[in-house]
């Protein structure tokens, strides 16, 4: 990256202090000078701006149902792609990204349970190497996300859904723990040679 002819206003003026090998750089508050305005509210929180942003988000919410459907379809397609490749050739990147996105967004779309299930799947994919992943457990997660969406389960009032999530979480913890133990054993054997 080269330094272009940047406008002066975007590069802060600074005061620098040296402490041995450490230099402390105080920014002179360029952004503050540019954008800070006095607020009558002593808390410093701009309630009007926050309310306007919440209202903008509400305007978008009519699309959330379709967006969630698209994300679930993406997860299912990524899982099909993962499953279609044989052991040794499996690529989890698309599946991980799809699960990770649902983990991050499904709560905003009104599906917090789907977010939690996808988060647990993302954890599994993140912690275990592709060839050691239990396909059956991934299938359960993908099916659970699909079921939550299809059945419109939007809160934690459904005891069966809550129990299923709990069981999936526990299963993942067991798999992650067992793999960590196996890796430790392999390392011990390798060091012993």
């Amino acid at each position: 990256m080269t330094r272009p002819n940047a406008p002066e206003s975007n590069v802060p003026n600074t005061i620098e202090q040296d402490f041995g090998g450490t230099r402390l750089i105080h920014l002179s508050g360029t952004l503050r000078a540019k954008a800070a305005v006095r607020n009558s509210d002593a808390s410093g929180v701009d309630d009007l701006s926050i309310a306007a942003a919440e209202s903008a988000m509400k305007d978008l919410s009519g699309d959330f149902q379709n967006w969630m459907g698209d994300e679930v379809n993406r997860l299912v397609a990524a899982f099909d792609e993962y499953r279609s490749n044989g052991p040794g050739k499996r690529d989890i990147s698309n599946l991980f990204r799809a699960a990770h996105d649902i983990r991050g967004q499904a709560s905003a779309f009104g599906y917090p349970l789907a977010a939690e299930i996808a988060g647990s799947l993302a954890k599994l994919l993140d912690k275990i190497e592709p060839d050691y992943l239990p396909v059956q457990l991934i299938t359960h997660h993908v099916d659970a996300v699909r079921a939550v969406y299809r059945s419109q389960i939007r809160d934690y009032a459904n005891p069966i859904a809550v129990q299923i999530i709990h069981n999936l979480n526990k299963a993942i913890d067991r798999v992650v723990e067992a793999r960590a133990k196996a890796l430790a054993e392999e390392q011990k054997i390798a060091l012993g040679r």
Partner: protein, 170 residues
């Protein structure tokens, strides 16, 4: 007290997910921002950063090829970056303590764990504009002062099924 007039600032939003970009853009427009530039991955984000010189960068962590951490490290290169001091707000699904430290060590200014809220995003913007941390330059690090309280534990277990379990397995 002060508030931030977002209409006076230029924002760069980098996220590979189009829906998330749309949500962030809507929130930013709600805050009054007029200039919200978007990029769909780290490489495009870096290019947009050099071209548009935003006042604040809002980036996702997990992106294909070039993620938010690598992007942050590139922006925090003091000798080559157009503005190594730019505030970087990282929006992420990762709440683990180790991830928070990784982001901090890369030079991220503030983190926001998904799901994002209007208030959460506004507070991060207000923090980096009104009360920016000083920068530190050592042999191995350039970025905001890392002596900053990390509250990763606050996110742990928030809104998860285990809080709602009843019965013997709870």
């Amino acid at each position: 007290m002060f508030r931030v007039d977002c209409s006076r600032l230029r924002f760069l939003v980098i996220d590979d997910n189009g829906y998330m970009r749309r949500i962030i853009r809507s929130l930013m427009h709600g805050f009054g921002a007029r200039e919200v530039i978007e990029a769909e991955d780290g490489a495009a984000g870096l290019e947009a950063f050099a071209t548009h010189l935003p006042d604040v960068v809002i980036t996702d962590w997990s992106m294909p090829v070039f993620d938010g951490i690598e992007l942050t490290k590139m922006i925090r290169q003091p000798d080559t970056s157009p503005n190594p001091f730019v505030p970087i707000i990282m929006i992420t699904g990762y709440a683990e303590r180790s991830r928070v430290f990784e982001a901090r060590d890369a030079g991220v200014s503030e983190m926001l764990v998904k799901p994002i809220s209007a208030k959460g995003l506004y507070m991060r913007i207000a923090k980096v504009v009104l009360n920016p941390r000083p920068f530190i330059r050592t042999e191995n690090y350039f970025g905001p002062d890392r002596r900053h309280l990390v509250k990763a534990e606050a996110y742990r277990g928030r809104g998860t099924a285990s809080n709602f379990l009843k019965g013997p397995l709870a």
